[in-house]
């Protein structure tokens, strides 16, 4: 069995040779940066009236900031006001959040003795020059900020840290009560989903949340795997981790553009639902593995029919609803065909094994 994404090594779980604890390296690296930080206020706000609020905020930040070569934390105003000259970091141990591409770490940021904030820290290592890492870093931060402000998901932004030529960090408030869909054992969910009302409710709410996002102009998530769908004790479901997402709050007439972004989101979701459980970054939930009948039928029952219903309902609201309803119908018609083909392919692939 292959395990331990953090190590980058493959080995049998029964025997435990020495391995490199990359997570520990990242935590220790961050711990060394924090005491050397100077703090500035990050006051670039998302302008939701812009056609592309994420890109707009990113460009305004790049135009306004000054680099000194020393590590700087640009913190949101309500976090920056806690800073009194002293800042330290205490890491957490965790079970969740291990499937992230970037190796997210967690802990408390302490501002002196009395104030602290629990945070999730996503590192962006500068490997092949700064430009690429900087773009990903700011896309992550402002993508999340835009999602949070627009109310389609995301976590409360804390700020960003620029450690010169080493690592860039994007910080959000850590909601300790969140759980992600990849942390749930879905093996008993199908075929009798009616016997699992709690699980069925999660997928129903996921359909609602994703339909809301896809009804917001030409907005999309870009990385809609199960590790990026979160739920909480209130039963809410919303996407997190918006590095690859974008928001275009105005309606786009071009069917191909709208279709491409929606299809990518739903295809990634399908892949996550259908792929078998493995240990690795692309591990799936294997939701359909116990289904004798068509996986497409099962997908419709637990998610897609409800997604379509919400898309049509949301399209019928607003002042230009006739045009948007027609465009949405065209888009859903195309999605139907291509998603069914995609799922049939996955069913053939995985059921042959």
């Amino acid at each position: 069995m292959t395990i331990s994404r953090e190590s980058g090594h493959n080995f049998e779980f029964g025997n435990l040779p020495k391995f490199d604890d990359l997570e520990k390296s990242r935590i220790e690296g961050f711990g060394l940066v924090v005491p050397r930080l100077s703090v500035e206020v990050q006051d670039i706000e998302i302008n939701e009236n812009k056609q592309n609020p994420k890109s707009d905020a990113r460009e305004r930040f790049l135009a306004s900031r000054r680099r000194t070569g020393d590590p700087i934390a640009y913190l949101n105003p309500d976090i920056a006001k806690l800073y009194n000259g002293s800042i330290s970091f205490e890491p957490y141990r965790s079970q969740g959040g291990k499937a992230s591409r970037h190796g997210v770490i967690f802990g408390d940021l302490h501002f002196g003795q009395n104030e602290s904030v629990s945070i999730a820290i996503k590192p962006f290592e500068i490997v092949d020059g700064r430009v690429q890492a900087e773009r990903e870093w700011l896309d992550d931060y402002f993508g999340n900020s835009a999602a949070f402000k627009l109310g389609v998901g995301g976590l409360k932004p804390v700020g960003i840290i620029d450690d010169a030529d080493h690592t860039l960090y994007s910080l959000t408030v850590l909601q300790k009560s969140l759980d992600t869909f990849d942390n749930i054992d879905w093996s008993g969910f199908l075929p009798d989903f009616q016997l699992n009302p709690g699980m069925a409710e999660l997928w129903s709410r996921a359909a609602h949340s994703i339909a809301i996002l896809h009804s917001l102009g030409d907005s999309y998530h870009g990385d809609l795997y199960l590790r990026n769908l979160a739920t909480n004790p209130e039963g809410q479901v919303f996407p997190i981790d918006w590095e690859y997402g974008d928001f275009c709050c105005q309606f786009i007439d071009d069917l191909e553009t709208r279709f491409t972004n929606r299809f990518r989101d739903l295809k990634n979701l399908l892949k996550g639902m259908a792929s078998p459980v493995n240990i690795g970054i692309e591990s799936g939930a294997g939701i359909f593995m116990n289904t004798d009948s068509s996986w497409w039928q099962a997908f419709n029952q637990v998610f897609y029919s409800e997604y379509q219903t919400w898309r049509m309902e949301l399209a019928s609201q607003g002042s230009h609803h006739m045009r948007i309803v027609k465009s949405t119908e065209e888009e859903l018609s195309q999605l139907d065909k291509d998603l069914e083909n995609e799922l049939d392919l996955l069913q053939n692939t995985y059921m042959k094994r």
């Binding site: 069995m1 395990i3 331990s4 994404r5 953090e6 190590s7 779980f13 029964g14 435990l16 391995f19 604890d21 997570e23 520990k24 935590i27 205490e90 890491p91 957490y92 141990r93 965790s94 079970q95 969740g96 291990k98 770490i105 967690f106 408390d108 629990s118 402000k149 627009l150 109310g151 389609v152 850590l174 909601q175 300790k176 009560s177 969140l178 759980d179 990849d182 942390n183 749930i184 054992d185 879905w186 093996s187 009302p197 709690g198 699980m199 409710e201 999660l202 709410r205 609602h208 949340s209 739920t231 909480n232 004790p233 209130e234 039963g235 809410q236 479901v237 459980v277 240990i279 939930a285």
Partner: protein
Amino acid sequence: MSRFENFEFDKDQSFERETAKRFSFSDELINRHDILRGTEKKSERFIEYPTPTNFNLEIRSNLIAKHDILGNQINSSDYGKDTFKIPYGAKPILYGAISRTLGDYSYGDSDLFYDLGVLLNNFDNSSNSKIIFKGLIGTNVALVDFTSQREKGLFLVPGCEMYAQDVASDSDNLTYYLEKLQNEFLNRFTNPTVKQKFIDGYSLIKN
């Protein structure tokens, strides 16, 4: 969240509702309820169930003294009912996916099942006579994620004491639990290393 919330209610209005199933410790058999109370701006989580009898009460007291019980008991205004305030994000271990992560800052199944072994050993020895836990382990053990390295992350849920049963002093509880865990956790407990970790924990062999 703004206009696109999943719930439509006034942020300042107080509410009381059952915790979502993924997180819930509600159990009809022992009349235990897992409830969220407060407003959307600030809500808290409680477990409530009928006050135990002397036998079960003694077990719970001993487990609380060992810091094995989730949360803290608070004064309840309802006679005959006990209330515990619990961490907001605590969740039952039953519904969790396999977790094989390793490392100083990870809490994978290896660590979890070791700690579970310790908890069940403490449970079996929390009365004057030997007892065994006869309930569903997966919904009576809580994981509290994102803890500092010195904090515990695994607890018994208030009300677990209601599933205590007397057994003979030579009862082989370990074999019983191994079979029970295999039935409850299936593939998650199949791995021989995870199984051995549980045995080590139950046998109080240092991790």
